[in-house]
């Protein structure tokens, strides 16, 4: 398959402007500025069926079309590079290796929605990535691809990078906006939606890095070309973050709709040490876990994953072998969401901590069988009852683990210890 988003693997130094230009760089931007009207750009992206890569899979063109056409306020484009879902590591490579691809996508998006200012929000730990992005921005600015009168078109777009302070929740678009404004990263109530009241009270588009990287390619090669890759309603390639107990973990660009078993066994080279598969966390730690049977029939695209009760999320595949303690996995997940809950909404603030407490007891073998029902009930009481989906992001996994790996919970309770650990509490090989 032709590499599109990961062209840097075939083109050394793609991050440099001259190399980027030699390989068709900023051609799509020229087209967007000189040959297309803003509504043409939006229509082309709509026709491509491009969907947001951040996890929610919302159609990008539709999102852009929500921006009021005659806004008296400035319009902002915010680019979500907070990449902090456990299991994700795609955006960081993009920042490092293809910053101009991101910049070109941003300027095109700005042109489409009538924005002259874009902010790239990077997660707190992305120091190297910010440096890479800033270097590319300086090059692009000097060469007239960013700033005033871009390519002589009379259109201005300025782009700033902004690093968060390391909170997971700031990857949620409205918390990102609050953080960008210098406030505590609390998700906002909707309505109003960011398209009407976003950054600094103005209409705002928030797009994921990977989403925008697709845009120059769509403009260069057309919506029909794009739609032909993968399933028509969920087309394109996807950066897949493969990790866990596989022989060849890493970042892979794959067509949407690649079967999970192909990703694990063919691309990933199978389970580490020749062991058997136990399950997969698809999408990211916030989505329901899959057991072996589900994994082997799962097709990795937005709609197919939804159909089997999980999600493609941001393209994560965390593979777990037969010796993985699923209780420990869920404890680690619960710890993460407890730690990262912003604490704004009652059910999430209190529920995440409660779940972690129960899971700590479970993993230590101190749990009780009634607590399985309690875990389910706490989760039910969290789902859908909060401002953002962080509560769902732990509640849905909890329900999936309790349902699909109930036997492991029961074994912990029966033995009074973790069957995957020896008496000292360190990992042991299963008998």
């Amino acid at each position: 398959m032709e590499r599109i988003l990961t062209r840097w693997l075939d083109i050394p130094d793609l991050r440099k402007l001259n190399v980027y230009l030699d390989n068709g760089g900023y051609k799509a931007l020229r087209k967007a500025l000189f040959e297309m009207k803003p509504e043409d750009i939006i229509n082309e992206v709509k026709n491509s069926n491009l969907r947001g890569r951040g996890g929610a899979a919302f159609p990008t063109g539709a999102k852009w079309s929500f921006i009021p056409k005659d806004s008296k306020k400035p319009v902002y484009v915010c680019v979500n590079g907070d990449e902090s879902e456990p299991g994700t590591f795609a955006n960081r490579y993009q920042f490092e290796n293809d910053p101009h691809g991101i910049i070109e996508g941003i300027v095109i998006a700005c042109r489409a929605v009538g924005s002259h200012n874009a902010y790239v929000y990077l997660r707190g730990e992305f120091t190297v990535q910010q440096r890479s992005m800033d270097a590319a921005l300086a090059e692009a600015r000097a060469a007239g691809y960013v700033g005033k009168n871009i390519m002589g078109s009379g259109y201005d777009v300025d782009i700033w990078t902004h690093k968060g302070a390391g909170a997971y929740i700031c990857g949620e678009e409205s918390a990102l906006l609050e953080s960008l404004e210098g406030k505590r990263g609390y998700p906002r109530n909707r309505p109003p939606f960011p398209a009407i009241v976003g950054a600094f009270g103005c209409p705002t588009v928030v797009n994921n890095i990977e989403t925008l990287s697709n845009v120059p390619h769509i403009l260069n090669r057309g919506a029909d070309w794009y739609k032909a890759i993968g399933p028509e309603k969920s087309p394109g390639t996807k950066l897949v973050c493969l990790s866990g107990h596989v022989n060849k973990p890493g970042l892979y660009e794959l067509p949407m709709g690649t079967p999970l078993r192909e990703i694990i066994y063919d691309i990933g080279g199978g389970i580490l040490g020749g062991k058997t598969l136990k399950g997969v966390i698809p999408g990211g730690s916030s989505f329901p876990v899959l057991n072996k049977e589900e994994t082997e029939r799962a097709i990795f695209d937005f709609d197919s994953m939804r159909a089997i009760g999980s999600a493609m999320g941001s393209g994560v595949v965390i593979v777990m072998d037969e010796d993985t303690c699923m209780i420990d996995m869920l404890l680690a997940t619960a710890h993460f969401y407890h730690h990262e809950s912003c604490g704004q909404c009652t059910p999430c603030r209190e529920g995440t901590g409660w779940i972690e407490k129960i899971m700590t007891e479970m993993e230590a073998g101190q749990g009780k069988i009634e607590q399985l029902e309690l875990l389910n009930n706490i989760s039910d009481n969290m789902v859908g009852n909060t401002i953002c989906v962080l509560a769902d992001s732990i509640a849905m996994p909890v329900k999936s683990y309790v349902t699909k790996f109930r036997g492991e919970f029961e074994e912990h309770i029966r033995l009074g210890r973790c069957p995957f650990k020896n008496k000292n509490g360190s990992a042991q090989q299963a008998a």
Binding site: G343, C345, T346, R349, G353, W354, K357, L374, N381, I387
Partner: protein, 528 residues
């Protein structure tokens, strides 16, 4: 206006209203913690989740505007489950220390637990999160972080109303805590409001806590007498003592708030200096005498002066802390009974007191300057009185609530009024002016009487008797009526309602008004 259905009841509500407000209109209570009508809507407590037909999930009533055809259920199975769930979540890390918590009895956690939950705890007690307790955050406010439900009403109040932002939420998740910034205590004149709006026992008032269980307190609607704003308040009292002032919502005067200066003004109304008996000067000392004796004595002296020197030998100085009814009764008394034109207002604020601020507080510390002015009682009349004393025309002075000696300073008082023959002082407290008096009559402070004040914008508001005055003190209107009757034998109205009615027919500024119909928000003076 959109028509919608809430729990089967049809509501027609203004499109700007949310579901909590709309439900109120048909007597449906939607429980809520973080929502406060005077603040922005954060939607964080999740207590007001309701089922809205056709919505994919439960909606928070606070952030849902009414819409045509909306069908809302606040007590469906789904909504009830969510209410119980939120209460359970709120309580798992709450210390449940109601027996030693000052909020008990007016705590929304207690109330809603009884109304919407009543389930046993599923959370092990020893595992509760521990946070800071009994933290003095300044401005007389104590913080208990464990009782806090993080509704952020207090932080929003300081962000949005006072714009001082002394409080913030620190940490994250269930470690979240309200706190001040290190070394920067709360420092504004409206801090008491965060105690009022705190729905739980996290914020309590240093001066009030542990002094009285709230269920023993009676509430009487009144007006703060601290300045000419006249914030609507409730007086919380028990057995003749005031324990606290709380602001009462009045969109036309003070919204939901009041300042700390006014809030903490009540101790001045129940000092040990309160007068409890009429006094008369005898051999340079004030000695107690019964009311009958006191009234006869004053009446016979007034009659003497009137007969010998004419009505204008007698004057009255009425303080701007007097009610409209008191001022009107005095005005009538002077005009008809004494035949004197000499009536002056004393409207003064002690030097060094606070000035106007951008919210509520006013530099004029008198609650009724405007009311007296509306009755034609001049604020610059004191000079005329002093001149009349100097010329020998003015012999006798009646002061009503007016602490002339303190207002003018003793030297100035003696210079201007030292030549008076006789002074009758009607006062709540034994003050410096009483020391100069021939007779002192004890009258009620404003929490002890019915009546009205007119604020600086011309808003006439009712005050009501919370409890009777101490000892043998009587209402000012009653004292004037007794004196008048002793002079001319005419029975005068003694109730505030009746005096107000007479005032409304005699005074253009109060035309068409009645005390009973002022309502809880008061009414504007008739256009002049």
């Amino acid at each position: 206006m959109p028509k919608l259905t809430i729990d089967g009841k049809e509501v027609e509500a203004d499109a700007s209203l949310n579901l909590i407000n709309a439900a109120e209109q048909v007597g449906v209570e939607i429980p809520h913690y973080c929502y406060h009508p005077g603040l922005s809507i954060p939607g964080n407590c999740r207590m007001c989740l309701v089922e809205v037909e056709k919505a994919p999930k439960l909606q928070i009533a606070c952030n849902t505007r009414v819409a045509e055809g909306m069908v809302v259920h606040t007590n469906s199975a789904k909504a009830k489950t969510a209410q119980k769930a939120v209460l359970e979540f709120l309580l798992i890390n709450h210390p449940i220390d109601c027996p030693v918590c000052d909020q008990a009895g007016e705590c929304k956690l207690q109330d809603y637990y009884m109304d919407y939950d009543q389930e046993p705890s599923r959370f092990p007690l020893p595992e509760k999160n521990r946070k800071g307790k009994a933290i003095d955050i300044g401005a007389g406010v104590m913080l208990d972080q464990e009782r806090c439900i993080l509704c952020a009403r207090c932080t929003r109040f300081f962000d949005e109303v006072t714009k001082t932002s002394e409080l913030a939420i620190f940490e994250r998740g269930d470690h979240n805590r309200i706190d001040i910034y290190p070394g920067q205590p709360v420092n504004n004149n409206y801090a008491g409001n965060i105690v009022d709006i705190c729905p739980v026992g996290a914020l309590t008032e240093k001066e009030f806590r542990f002094r009285m269980r709230v269920w023993y307190l009676h509430r009487t609607a009144s007006v703060c007498g601290g300045c000419e704003r006249g914030c609507s308040i409730d007086i919380h009292h028990h057995r003749g003592r005031i324990y606290r002032f709380k602001p009462r919502f009045n969109p036309d005067v003070n919204s939901y708030w009041m300042c700390d200066e006014g809030r903490h003004s009540f101790p001045g109304l129940q000092n040990e200096t309160r007068l409890t008996s009429p006094l008369v000067q005898a051999k340079d000392q004030l000695v107690v005498e019964p009311w009958g004796e006191a009234v006869r004595r004053a009446a016979s002296i007034i009659a003497d002066y009137k007969r010998t020197f004419g009505g204008n030998s007698i004057a009255v100085v009425v303080d701007a802390t007097s009610t409209n009814e008191e001022a009107f009764a005095l005005k009538q008394f002077m005009k008809t009974t004494i035949g004197s034109e000499r009536i002056a207002m004393l409207s003064w604020s002690p030097p060094g007191t606070s000035g106007d601020d951008e919210l509520l507080l006013r530099a004029n510390k008198n609650p009724n300057t405007r009311g007296l002015a509306a009755l034609g009682i001049a604020g610059d009349g004191l000079d005329g009185l002093a001149a009349a004393v100097a010329s020998g025309e003015l012999k006798m002075l009646i002061t009503f609530r007016a602490d002339l000696v303190r207002a003018l300073g003793e030297q100035e008082f003696v210079r201007r009024f030292g030549a008076l023959d006789y002074m009758l002082v009607l006062s709540t407290d034994a003050n410096e002016t009483c020391q100069m008096a021939n007779q002192v009559w004890p009258i009620a402070a404003y929490p002890e009487i019915d009546g009205s004040f007119t604020n600086f914008k011309g808003r006439v508001q009712r005050i009501k008797e919370a409890f009777p005055p101490p000892g043998n003190a009587i209402a000012g209107v009653e004292a004037i009526a007794r004196l008048g009757k002793a002079l001319d034998g005419v029975e005068r109205p003694r109730s505030a309602d009746a005096v107000f009615a007479a005032m409304a027919s005699a005074e253009p500024a109060f035309k068409g008004m009645a005390l009973a119909t002022l309502g809880e928000h008061g009414a504007d003076l008739a256009a002049s």
